[in-house]
Symmetry: C2
Subunit: 269 residues, 2 copies
């Protein structure tokens, strides 16, 4: 039974998870493993009860929730096996899954289920934590085994409003390259192109440009590791999209119709 | 003094303008020139008082507001000179300005000021009319002459919350190619690329993909004439953006930093 949860990386996602389960009725302890500043901010918003070291957290936690940047999650996992409580459940919120799930093959004393909540904001940090961040959002899980602890964790995901989706790591990375990494690269490319070539276009900015440059505000600190650990898939998606943009003028009516239909379907799910 | 306004094309923009000035206190008559169905919808939401023919509207209106598709506006303008009340003010809401301002050179019996409110929705029609659509939005004007009627019209723009920006038609078309037409083409290209290559990515759609595909829902009926009448500028912007996307991987940290800074500045205006 999950009595103690440890959140490693008390940023936006980790703190929002702590806050969400507390708001959904979790009455146990939520420990935080993070920088002193993040711990203070996460305690302030009520997302965690107290901070401690990874060693202490791993020794006590029934559920370890790793919400650091991707490569830091893989690094934490590599240190974790001797530290964890036997039979604990380790999960994560990393934006790519192959590197993390590969690292998790070394975990022998605990169960690992990879995770990726499809939620976020362009602002970072525990101060922006939001208990409803995962409501009606897809939460990808990899390598489930239906153990009691895992089913209990998935019960909490349901209670915080997330929609579970089971995918293997390879499929996940292939799909998010298109649904997440490609939109980010397009938004960054659009903003950088305007900044370089025609910055005065900002004078006639409308709501469309605002939508299309929101992702571009994201920090490269986060994206660096995401793009590095999914470079093959993200690169292929970008190349395919560039080819589509080059071909767009050959059949504008057809491409508009197809894009409109796809985008409307996307909102009917 | 503006006592009668005629809105030609009672769609989203025309009806929102009628509604906005009425809500801001305009006590005169607002005539509508549009299809029977649009007139009915615009009257239903209180955007216009009644429908009539272009001939009747032009004979009565002190202010003629043309909010049809771009080529239809140019066509209306070509018919207008013998029909208008002497000294009337004709303005428009067309998304490109060169073709329209060229056509307006034939107007001798009235004043013409080109206009373009940087506002919109992905839904069309008078039923979606919104009196606050122009609030805090840029409204481009071309070729102003500070006549009493024009100053009165610009007073109404202020009262409905729009921010006036004076630009010549060529500069306008150059800037909106980047701020409006390029974002539209990228959104369409993104949605079409996913639809063609990896439609299953919809299973892991997050808020980023939603932002980036909102414009893609737009109807080609509208965009056809916009892209046709600004093909040179929109094409150049698309080519420059494709080149930027191709070069992105050569300096991801630098491009992210530049794009982030530009996008944040855009929101400080």
């Amino acid at each position: 039974m999950i009595q103690t949860v440890a959140v490693a990386g008390a940023g936006l996602i980790g703190s929002s998870f702590g806050l969400a389960i507390k708001q959904a009725g979790f009455a146990g302890t939520v420990l935080g493993v993070s920088s002193e500043r993040s711990i203070a901010a996460a305690m302030q918003v009520g997302a965690i009860d107290r901070g401690c070291s990874l060693e202490e957290a791993a020794a006590q936690a029934d559920l370890l929730f790793l919400s650091q940047p991707v490569l830091a999650i893989a690094e934490t996992i590599r240190r974790l096996d001797p530290l964890v409580k036997t039979g604990a459940l380790v999960t994560d919120a990393g934006s790519t899954k192959r590197v993390i799930c590969d690292a998790a093959k070394g975990l022998k004393r605990c169960q690992f289920v990879g995770g990726h909540p499809m939620a976020g904001k362009e602002v970072r940090g525990a101060a922006a934590a939001d208990g409803s961040l995962f409501r009606d959002r897809t939460w990808v899980l990899t390598g489930t085994a239906d153990t009691p602890l895992e089913l209990e964790f998935r019960g909490w995901l349901r209670r915080i409003g997330a929609r579970e989706l089971l995918l293997d790591a390879k499929t996940h990375d292939h799909l998010v390259a298109w649904s997440s990494h490609l939109p980010q690269l397009l938004s960054t490319g659009l903003a950088a192109a305007i900044a370089d070539t025609n910055p005065a276009a900002a004078r006639v900015a409308g709501p469309g440009l605002m939508d299309m440059t929101r992702l571009a505000m994201s920090s490269f600190d986060l994206w660096s590791e995401i793009l590095e650990t999914n470079a093959d898939e993200a690169g292929a998606a970008l190349d395919a999209c560039i080819a589509k943009l080059q071909a767009l003028r050959a059949d504008l009516p057809g491409e508009f119709a197809k894009a409109s239909e796809f985008s409307k379907q996307l909102r009917k799910k």
